[in-house]
Symmetry: C2
Subunit: 325 residues, 2 copies
DNA sequence: CATTATATGTCAAACGTTTGATATATGTCA
DNA sequence: TGACATATATCAAACGTTTGACATATAATG
């Protein structure tokens, strides 16, 4: 591959001049400029970004660490992060942690070695110190580490209330809530807080079921729903903490011969595109996934450039009422 | 951040020695080795991969260009590519082309400037010359460019036959086939060839509908299915060229008051995880997505290392009969 | 004792850029 | 004329590694 030296030689100028032409700095005559550009064309020259990165001590890469991109929520998140990163001249390095602390740590180290501009953490399996000490711009999704590290989440509490209140307003009198592991320090747990609060306020009978939220084992959802419907035949509402769980709830209800929404109402959370693939379409609390992605990229950029930025970013959710409620 | 010089200084050795310790080359006494490692610990030293990349003229990065990672098939593909890349010490740069030739070209150029080890092309919107001239290890998914560029695809023709024959064997007598744009030079079109051949062989009435296969506009599927069912009331089988289309077909049939599989049978293609979220679960032709990802990484690596490799990689498909057939 | 193999370490160039310091014209304005 | 802005170019250091060439010390061998 041609280097800047080859271009300079062929164009009859110095490498400095070529560099100045490329980076638009200093005085360059129109004649020189066009000659350089022409030579670059002729040699099919592409500046080596690695050398640039080495010098400017950053790579214009954003690391995205998530449990698994095969999970629809994270797939959509990754899609938007890539979109906004591209808009701001950055690239995205895709890191699936598989919720394995070892892999997550190795990815963090790797990203630092590669001088990424910053890291978007959608997976957090490590101790808080691991994140505090990493001295690299970082943004966490749906998890608050401490007062220094900026985080983004949807308004989980409001979302939980919306879902719970909708079910009640539709007449549900015994409601199940299927959520992740509440002992993990995730902001998503606020959905469950809100559920509990609303149930108490209205004195509604309810049952809360924790899954271990293993992103990969969807089979468990089928089993859990089956068990739930068997043990609590009179349940007439389900608030699932993700749309996938809601989909399994819908499937389980149908299999158990219950009509949705007539016999039992179901609402999910996330608002992934897949909710509209179902019949009936699944009601959901929509997180602004695109905005989360946009903000994540912006927060990395602001930290990198030393601009001031907001630490707490709680974005509004929206009730998407479809056909299961 | 500490550099190799800092480590050398503090450990009282030369940078060469530190480098040799890290890379395990040359003779190093156990005493020196442990001292160096200890110093690295103390300084929290991480070797700068950018500098390494510059020297060895490659970055251990694989570029993955796909239409959109929010599409379940590509999300799963990305997941597996990441998995196997990680296994072989590589990182994955995620590039969504959005099927925009300009963006795809920019991504290709960017990847070259960053000296990636190779590019996995799951999106191909450019002229063949653009791929031929890029002088970088490359693998295409589901598209044959020429005899030089290795490609991977599932056995689309066999898959198409399997699907078509299954529907016939179940007693379908008028079958619809919903596929992408057949004028694009995609190997996926062989599914449609197979469908046509099987229909001819059995003398089965059929209707073929092309969508423009815009990965992002799912609404069109709903409209197409609705129109199809209205115009051909007597259709009793549908072979969809993707599982998402199959899901919309299932939804459309249910909305039209048809029972699946009693009144109409449906089979999709791809075998994405989502097929089992539905009730009834959707029958599908499973592509070995994991194997595709594994092979993609392997083919990049072999090209990079100058090892011999197979140009044509057609992987077997598998009939996953679930409940819609 | 000379020779050789083994063990350990140092030096400096190279990878492909950017950039500050410096030099030298040329033209314009007061 | 001097001062100044404009235009162009050169040189060399720097970014953080790796690595071939070379140096030295020690131990084993003939």
């Amino acid at each position: 591959m041609a280097t800047i030296h080859d271009v300079a030689l062929k164009a009859g100028v110095s490498v400095t001049t070529v560099s100045r032409v490329m980076n638009n700095r200093g005085y360059i005559s129109e004649r020189t400029r066009s000659k350089v550009f022409q030579t670059m064309e002729e040699l099919n020259y592409h500046p080596n970004e690695i050398a640039r990165s080495l010098l400017r001590k950053r790579s214009n890469v954003i690391g995205l660490i998530i449990p698994a991109v095969s999970h629809p929520f994270f797939a959509e998140l990754a899609n938007h992060v890539e979109y906004y990163a591209y808009q701001s001249g950055c690239k995205v390095l895709l890191c699936n942690s598989q919720l394995d602390p070892v892999k997550e740590k190795e990815y963090i180290d790797m990203l630092k070695r590669n001088m990424v501009d910053g890291i978007v953490m959608g997976s957090h399996t490590l101790e808080v110190d691991a994140y505090r000490n990493l001295h690299s711009p970082i943004v966490t999704i749906d998890r608050r580490i401490d007062e220094d590290i900026p985080y983004i989440s949807s308004d989980n509490y409001a979302g939980g209330r919306l879902a719970a209140e909708l079910l009640i307003s539709k007449g549900c009198r015994k409601i199940a809530h299927i959520c992740g592991n509440l002992t993990l320090n995730l902001l998503a747990n606020n959905r469950s807080m809100a559920f509990r609060d609303v149930m108490l306020e209205h004195g509604i009978e309810n049952v809360v079921i924790q899954t271990d939220m293993n992103v990969f084992d969807h089979d468990q959802y089928g089993r859990i729903i089956g068990k739930l419907l068997r043990e609590h035949e009179d349940i007439d509402g389900i608030f699932a903490t993700s749309d996938i769980i809601a989909a399994y709830a819908l499937k389980g209800c149908t299999q158990a011969g219950k009509r949705v929404p007539e016999d039992i109402r179901i609402i999910g959370y996330d608002g992934i595109g897949a909710v509209s693939w179902f019949e009936p379409e699944i009601s959901s609390i929509r997180q602004p996934i695109s905005e989360i992605g946009r903000l994540a990229v912006e927060l990395i950029r602001k930290q990198r450039d030393g601009e001031p930025f907001e630490r707490e970013n709680i974005l509004p959710v929206e009730l998407m009422e479809r056909s299961t409620t």
